[in-house]
Amino acid sequence: MKTRHLVIALLAFIGMIDALFLSIKRNAGPIPCHVTHGCSDVLTSKYSEVLGIPLSWFGLAFYVTVLSLAIFKLFEDPERPYEAPSKLIFYLSGAGLIVSALLVGIQAFILKAYCEYCLLSAALVLTIFLVCPHPGRPAKRTLPE
């Protein structure tokens, strides 16, 4: 259980840097791509913001929340484990996965340009979702008799 949350914390940490990097870069001119082509097209398109708020800010909020929850879980008392953080991470990353799939779809079919930072974020959300314990099937726990 601890290992899973350590992995989630690490992934969320990388995601947080990614999202913050994009938030800073958005106001500082063209964003260079190293692996893909068309970062500027993606990040300046009309799909890059919702109600005037850049998507990277939502990403930043998501990763900071997941990171905090995972760290709380890491520091829990083994005798009285917290249930909420795992559940929240599961539902948040599930919602994040749907949003990410939508954004990758927009890149592939509408913009026909890819932004490596956005693809990295989608991969991170997917991994967090897969690593996070499923609330339907709670992990085995030895209860004191």
């Binding site: 840097i17 800073i24 001119g29 964003i31 398109s45």
Partner: protein, 239 residues
């Protein structure tokens, strides 16, 4: 008496439990704050670092431009030279186009604008054709009219499997013969000229479009005309 002591003891025990619980909660909070601070520092460091390569090569870039590449509008010798490496099919170049025009209207005698071809052919399948069409229009003496029209009507030809009929229609609209333009645009000399611009861009470490330079210095205007104006005013004051 005994009751008083036992009550006092319970209260103390509860207070201790609260303190223990608080100290347990403080640990992860401190860790969270530290981790976020480290992450924020890393993001700021990375975002600054990726700005450096073009700035470092700005001087070398200036030398590359002497080769007679690109097209210019405005006075031949001006206090400010605004250079754009752009792609006619790129939506963000289209978004910046009105800002550039606004600058040229505002500073007709102080700003010389140079446009250099930088089509990203791997993601913009019609870009090369559009740049060739602009060159072909240039041969008929209407480069800038075609340049403006390609950006203005970008949405109409960007996703067409064959954009040539749209280019012909645009050409007819700006007063040149569309049929001749479409016939002549595949002349290899146009492609050569475009590729020369792309090479100059590569040497200047152009990694994204549009990339702007003001007086040979790479600039990062935000998405607004006021940022361009501020940058130009700052450069005019330097003189």
């Amino acid at each position: 008496m005994q009751e008083f002591f036992s009550k006092n003891f319970r209260m103390r025990r509860e207070r201790c439990a609260t303190i223990v619980a608080m100290s347990k909660a403080i640990k992860p909070i401190v860790v969270i704050i530290l981790v976020i601070a480290v992450g924020a520092g890393a993001a700021v460091f990375l975002s600054r670092q990726s700005d450096e390569p073009p700035a470092a090569d700005a001087a070398a870039f200036g030398l590359q431009l002497e080769a007679g590449t690109g097209h210019f509008r405005g006075p031949e010798k001006a206090e400010i030279t605004l250079v754009e490496f752009g792609d006619y099919q790129c939506p963000s170049c289209g978004a910046y186009h009105p800002f550039v025009k606004e600058i040229l209207n505002r500073y007709p005698t102080q700003v010389r604008f140079e446009f250099h071809h930088f089509p990203l052919v791997s993601i913009h399948p019609n870009a090369m054709a559009a740049h060739k069409a602009a060159e072909a229009a240039g041969e008929q003496g209407h480069y800038w009219e075609m340049h403006d029209a390609l950006f203005d009507y970008q949405a109409q030809w960007s996703n067409k499997p064959d954009p040539k009929p749209v280019f012909a229609a645009i050409a007819n609209q700006i007063g040149i013969n569309g049929a001749i333009l479409v016939q002549s645009m595949d002349n290899p000399k146009f492609q050569e000229r475009i590729l020369k611009d792309v090479q100059a861009g590569d040497k200047a470490f152009v990694q994204a479009v549009p990339t702007f330079f003001i007086n040979r210095q790479p600039v990062h205007p935000r998405m607004g005309v006021q940022d361009f104006i501020d940058l130009i005013e700052a450069n005019l004051k330097k003189k």
